[in-house]
Symmetry: C2
Amino acid sequence: MSHPKRPPGGFPVVGVVGGGQLARMMHGPAVELGIQLSVLAEDELAAAALAVPSAPVGDHRDVDALREFARHCDVVTFDHEHVPQSVLETLEDEGVVLHPPRAALRFAQDKLAMRQRLTELGIACPRWVRAGSAAEVSAFGDAVGWPVVAKTPRGGYDGKGVAVIRSAEDVADWLDRVGQPGPVADGILLEEKVDFVRELAVLVARSPSGQAAAWPVVETVQADGICTDVLAPAPDLDPELAAIVTEAALRIAGELGVTGVLAVETFEVRDEDGRAAYRVNELAMRPHNSGHWSMDGAVTGQFEQHLRAVLDLPLGEPTARAPWTVMANVLGGDYEQLYPAYRHIMARDPGAKVHVYGKQVRPGRKVGHVNVSADDLDAARARARHAADYLRGVVTE
Amino acid sequence: MSHPKRPPGGFPVVGVVGGGQLARMMHGPAVELGIQLSVLAEDELAAAALAVPSAPVGDHRDVDALREFARHCDVVTFDHEHVPQSVLETLEDEGVVLHPPRAALRFAQDKLAMRQRLTELGIACPRWVRAGSAAEVSAFGDAVGWPVVAKTPRGGYDGKGVAVIRSAEDVADWLDRVGQPGPVADGILLEEKVDFVRELAVLVARSPSGQAAAWPVVETVQADGICTDVLAPAPDLDPELAAIVTEAALRIAGELGVTGVLAVETFEVRDEDGRAAYRVNELAMRPHNSGHWSMDGAVTGQFEQHLRAVLDLPLGEPTARAPWTVMANVLGGDYEQLYPAYRHIMARDPGAKVHVYGKQVRPGRKVGHVNVSADDLDAARARARHAADYLRGVVTE
């Protein structure tokens, strides 16, 4: 293993489990903050392993690898939520400082546990049930109206592990495809299919000593279950709803004991009386795609804030630095060689902030994103979208 | 040597000679741009060696070390201007792509050559002479008025290699102290002591294909020959003078064949008729302390722009992102352990952007800087200065 060097001046070492783009994007702020990063990477060419001097290769499910990795870090945080609970428990029992801690991460790893806990807290969720049999699936669908949304409690992301279900038989077919045990042996999560106006995300950061900060609420635009654009702040958002969802996200962070960045993805809905309301869709306990805009659009970006939070440093100002910032994801497309397309984009729009993850291009894979800040939302959105589309090969001029 | 990994997608490797804070601060933008950095570092704990995965240790005067280093890079640029001309010449003869090239760097390395060339170009300079004897020193002093400023043509920075001279004997004393050969054997540079209103710096970036971009002109505040604060933009600057100095800096970059960032440090003076004018003081061909404000205060910061320029990528927008940004240098002071003081500063001012270089604290050494952007200059200046003073131990609350 390549161990992290100890910087002078009493500055700490933060370990990040997982070497994806989120770990990679923590490195720029870490360097500026004077914090030393170490990444437990999937392989030597992982996105973060290309960027961070200390990037030992190891399996995040291997308690020995994690223990050895953590021995050289002051705190350990995560690029993803896939470290098993049993491994997290062993590490905490041995005194490793994890942020977020195991007890909080459980609610990001297990959607049934999350729904249970949020419901107890009185947080607005879609109607839901744990279904363990075809009869329970049928009963729920008949009660809330078909179709319904089925989710595997664990392991899903970016639309994987989620299906729209029109009948109890659909569930069995889908479970066969995603390779879950038995039809509904462990129980799956069923949710009403929410009739939403749009999707909103709220990002907050919380430190171990309880300080918290929230970025402006953003609108996330999805296609095929993958986020394509983020509009910051969410345009024409009812200020009362903004306050309510922000309050809900801060409350979730506090009640669940989250440390670091928490992303709360929600649906904006209309209540029976026509008033704007929300339903929580998903939680993520790490920097999140819906917060990438903040790297260029906020005084404190989410990666800097995450590091400050997990180190229990005072949090930075999360306010926006421009009236509008739009983030567009760059998905892998026609160009295996991204560099020439990126050169074109830079020439066309000198104000676009193009972020590249150092990842091999594969169709549909998130390989970068573009942030554009402007006084005019439509202009920002058109510029960001054009750059992302050009980099994907969707447009050629 | 630890060689740089080749990133996927056709992205290049940029080599940086020298592992100081300038190389370190290139790394964050490099990661976001998807560019791989490699640094030829002074030692394993150099500021940039703590941040960059590929940081072989080598002497910048050793042509073999540089050749081996450059073999793994697409272009080579610099953290400082100390690589000897003979070494640069050998590398260029062997096909290494240097930015800035040897011919341009000469004018940053040799102040006599710089004065000569700028004078040929009609750029406003202090009155100057190359003096090779005590008689020539006396004659110059008598002509322009005592005291005069004496500079060793090579090797000076941050006030070193510069002296205020009241007589020809002073020069001999000073040369003895700085260890130059003979009294004035090779010739030294004598300049009139300019009666200036304040100091202005203009930063521009220029790419090999000739594209150029200029940041707003800034005011630099110095104490004991070291920059303490930078005000961006320079307050109450005559717009005509701003245009003139910017034009001069762009012309210098073009005529001298500079690639990457060029800093032109100038004196603002009043002409005989009372009109604002400038005199060029120094040139630096690399990102420069007077441009650190741009990391947080401009759409494209100087480190990103330098990388774009040396790679001949289209340049980014250099416009300011806030009405005012003030940069205050953090000099080493009372705290060997900077971390607790930095924690205090973060709590006191959540909007201050504290940048730390990973360097051992020594009295007077630049160990970091603080950027504050605001709508009000006085507020920004007070906040940035307080943070820097607190980190130095000058104030304790």
